[in-house]
Assembly symmetry: D2
Homo-oligomer: 337 residues x 4
Amino acid sequence: MFNFKNDYSEGCHPQILEALSRTNLEQTVGYGLDEHCSNAAALIKKAIDCKSADVHFLVGGTQTNLTAISAFLRPHQCVLAAATGHVNVHETGAIEATGHKVVTRPTPDGKLTAALVQEMVNEHTDEHMVQPGIVYLSQSTELGTVYTKWELEAIHACCKENGLLLYVDGARLACALTSEACDMKLTDLPLLCDAFYIGGTKNGMLFGEALVIVNDALKEDFRFLIKQRGGMLAKGRLLGLQFEEQFRNGLYLELGRHANAMAQRLQEGLVAKGYPLLQHSPTNQVFPILTPEQYQLFSSFVLFENWANLFDGRKAIRLVTSWATKQETVDTFLNQL
Amino acid sequence: MFNFKNDYSEGCHPQILEALSRTNLEQTVGYGLDEHCSNAAALIKKAIDCKSADVHFLVGGTQTNLTAISAFLRPHQCVLAAATGHVNVHETGAIEATGHKVVTRPTPDGKLTAALVQEMVNEHTDEHMVQPGIVYLSQSTELGTVYTKWELEAIHACCKENGLLLYVDGARLACALTSEACDMKLTDLPLLCDAFYIGGTKNGMLFGEALVIVNDALKEDFRFLIKQRGGMLAKGRLLGLQFEEQFRNGLYLELGRHANAMAQRLQEGLVAKGYPLLQHSPTNQVFPILTPEQYQLFSSFVLFENWANLFDGRKAIRLVTSWATKQETVDTFLNQL
Amino acid sequence: MFNFKNDYSEGCHPQILEALSRTNLEQTVGYGLDEHCSNAAALIKKAIDCKSADVHFLVGGTQTNLTAISAFLRPHQCVLAAATGHVNVHETGAIEATGHKVVTRPTPDGKLTAALVQEMVNEHTDEHMVQPGIVYLSQSTELGTVYTKWELEAIHACCKENGLLLYVDGARLACALTSEACDMKLTDLPLLCDAFYIGGTKNGMLFGEALVIVNDALKEDFRFLIKQRGGMLAKGRLLGLQFEEQFRNGLYLELGRHANAMAQRLQEGLVAKGYPLLQHSPTNQVFPILTPEQYQLFSSFVLFENWANLFDGRKAIRLVTSWATKQETVDTFLNQL
Amino acid sequence: MFNFKNDYSEGCHPQILEALSRTNLEQTVGYGLDEHCSNAAALIKKAIDCKSADVHFLVGGTQTNLTAISAFLRPHQCVLAAATGHVNVHETGAIEATGHKVVTRPTPDGKLTAALVQEMVNEHTDEHMVQPGIVYLSQSTELGTVYTKWELEAIHACCKENGLLLYVDGARLACALTSEACDMKLTDLPLLCDAFYIGGTKNGMLFGEALVIVNDALKEDFRFLIKQRGGMLAKGRLLGLQFEEQFRNGLYLELGRHANAMAQRLQEGLVAKGYPLLQHSPTNQVFPILTPEQYQLFSSFVLFENWANLFDGRKAIRLVTSWATKQETVDTFLNQL
């Protein structure tokens, strides 16, 4: 059985596993106040070229999103997002559970635009409505697409003009930044966002996301919020040492680049075999459209995620590659197809 | 420098590390729906002799407490706890952040009693007050003390009589159950509580707590709540496989027994040297009282936690042992003292 | 200056004012436990022909909606509503502030349908998404339209089939039930909804909404929730005695009927003068579409609410009549136009 | 049957009722944006001698407390209060329902002190605990006692030193300020608090509290919060015109003075008859201690509130007077006793 279900099917990259083993009996203080965490934070601040940023390490993406957004907003403020945004659909109302509405617009490619943001702002005119407070977007998006630097700059400018914060969910940031469709670098993020996170779970770590707070006004007392929301890991050094490995020698982007290469090979192979795509994806998620017969065939020998039921009875599915996907697996899969 | 600061200073027990390495490249489904998790749940249900229980794996104690308690209570219901209870003092108001008050009583030894519970119930008489909904207690307590079976039965009976749920925080359950002061077994817990958790973080795991829901009325849709609160680990198998190791061949209680033995050796040594105790502890936390001079001495060669400032200028400190504490370390420490 | 801005511009109907004066120096117990409240509840239960219902009196609509919905749902459950629904747009995220998502569908006439409800249910497939818990609809809607009995029965059946609760916001229930477009009676409501409220604020009272809980499973401890959300009026009898007047001798529906008659006269007059309507309304809200010149004219001599900016530069406005609107006022307004 | 159960047993003062009748058919805009509200706010700002304050009108005390405190605090911050504080005991956990812990100290007379505040601050040392954010106190307290200006200045200074906000619940402010035990004036409040409310419900109004926000940092977007918590009254002018009457010609303090005079006459009468007091009260609440026989006697001809069960079997009860209490009623009651 092939498995393209997601990018977190395996444990972690061997280099990270080795670091876990090597440091296992070290004695450190808890809660992310250890040297591995401070070292990892320093490496990240260097990689993004932003010395003044605060870096916090959390275990997972939903936890990072809900902790950050609820810390940044006042109670009457809402999140603006694409209708397909992870916080809107796939986090069981985690943002609302902290008291905040998520206001959305449908977008064909999973990407917000400055125009859509402005439209949502314009609709919120008085105190009987929630107040737009923060724009949430994912780089890459839930549909595998990426924002170009120019697109993010436009959204950034729109946020500035309307007094909004900009937050980037980087669960798959490594794949976004190493995609051929994306002209952004790590160093662009602090210039464009108030906060963002660098995703580790989907990029070869056992778990872990590095939340980077750039905007000084959002930094105060943030560790209180991590603790209150249940996200402060007792053995915090596990987060630090994994990110040390990611940013010590370029592993982070390397793993994203590999995942992309495997996905592109897969996507091209599917297109070559005549499969239409729901959305061309330049990153590590691929969305072929299958007839019922094809769907049955796929189900018989590969694990994947259902994505959407089309009106004509066909289905779009999602195939995901990762740091752990081997080229021969992709090739064998395509051959067997 | 000696380190008795807590029981989560190291990584994990070698047997667990080995399991992580061995399974690293296995491909599994995410979110705790894999075979390691189902196998670990089966082992736990066997160990507690309760086939009908639901077992959920979460990363940390605060997250487990807040997710469980907020799932079990209606909005107007409160938690009853000892004033020293972890949910009252050391979780940054995590329970209140989900909307629920924690009502407390001071207790010298960190233990609730049926009488205290009844007293709190009696004070809440109408709809202008919160409604007692659940009793929270820790086994062992934050002061290292333990509840005997008889004591827990009395609280259990009081809960039944007043329509209250009973929840046991087992962050240090292994140490409680292997303490000479405790006559309870794992199999007693499902008979006395509506829900409890078996703590892994403080007993040799990288992280992880196993929440056991015994009361059928509390089981429905619990996974939604885990996800909503940010506690659903993508690579959930990491939790399952660690608990597999703990319950496969008795490691869980063995590690608790070792931590206790080290603490008792330490406690006896301190008493022999004339140090008074804030509270005699039968488990893995020791609370000597130090004069300012002694405090300075200790600070110079051992890491510990400050616990309380006494009125006469002395301080109580906390020394903690763990699965990783070596007997020679305790002996050397006592000798150097 | 004419004033068609809303249906709560004046104080209260003279009969209600008289009752307030007459009873002013009576001494009663507080918090709605007095005889006026129990008498009003009895009158309402008789009017809706449902002896088993619980009736609670609250001050305003947003408070009633948020208290009821947050009491009825578990934390992971959401509200299903029309995109124009009052809880979605005009309550500053009050529902989300209690932790619950509002999931919506756009509807041209402000009305949900069973098909739309089913569509939203079908999209929520697993624990990574919120769980549909309750359907919210307004009778009449924010666009002045009404549900027929058949339409509500279809939604009711869809709710039953999917295990959903059905809640009706009756802020303008008197106008809905007395509209020629509506074939429902007060006695139909308990047969079709789990809970609903009978709006007083917009129907001649100083303030006050009567929440009717029909479903036994939703009744327990509801007064705790009213108090917790800040909605328990100390001098609760003010709510009771106003509703006594409304339901003592048929005033409630009579006031709605009058408001409708005035609005229909206004709507017909506008149509006769060639004004197109955004939506034909059979109740007390009228939505003419104005050119910029007409808009300027209207603004010069009548107070109204802006409703929507059309793509061609025209604007839809809202004119509202009430129990206090006089026929001669409508006629004079139309003549001056 | 005599009735000393509370100070909100009747409707409203005749002057206020007259104003309601006189203005009943005026047409005004809704939500407190009318001229009565702006006029009342101006009168209050003049009475407290603070032109820069923001004044908001809400319906009741619990709603005012929860809306203000949740608007002023960040999620990890807590309220510091006396254990008897209204927000701690008698609001069904309303503050916790907005996410914030209430940390308390027992006090014999219901009054906080600077020392108690400092003690609570000192105990909260790190991010594993909630962060003290605001001090809550009632003037007069739940036990009828009052803070002198010097006492409030000491607490104010302690707050400043520790970066805490100070909030005064003035549900019975009129009685406090007109008590012989109190040397404070309305004009002292803006100098000592960040926010406070002037209670109307318990001082002759149908309902209504005037929240005064002095601290500029707390003013932004406050109307959003009122709406979100369900506290924005559609016919807001009802609040404005009642407060106009209160502050137009000194009625507010006059009514408090009368209530105090009646209570002092009652208290002195009881003491003269040999009844001990739980707490001498200089305001409108009186707390005699009754033997079981006396309790039975009282129960037979007067309505009152139970307050506390003493250890020796006696009970403390609460008798309350108000603007509506007549001297002859007090005298007849004492005579019949």
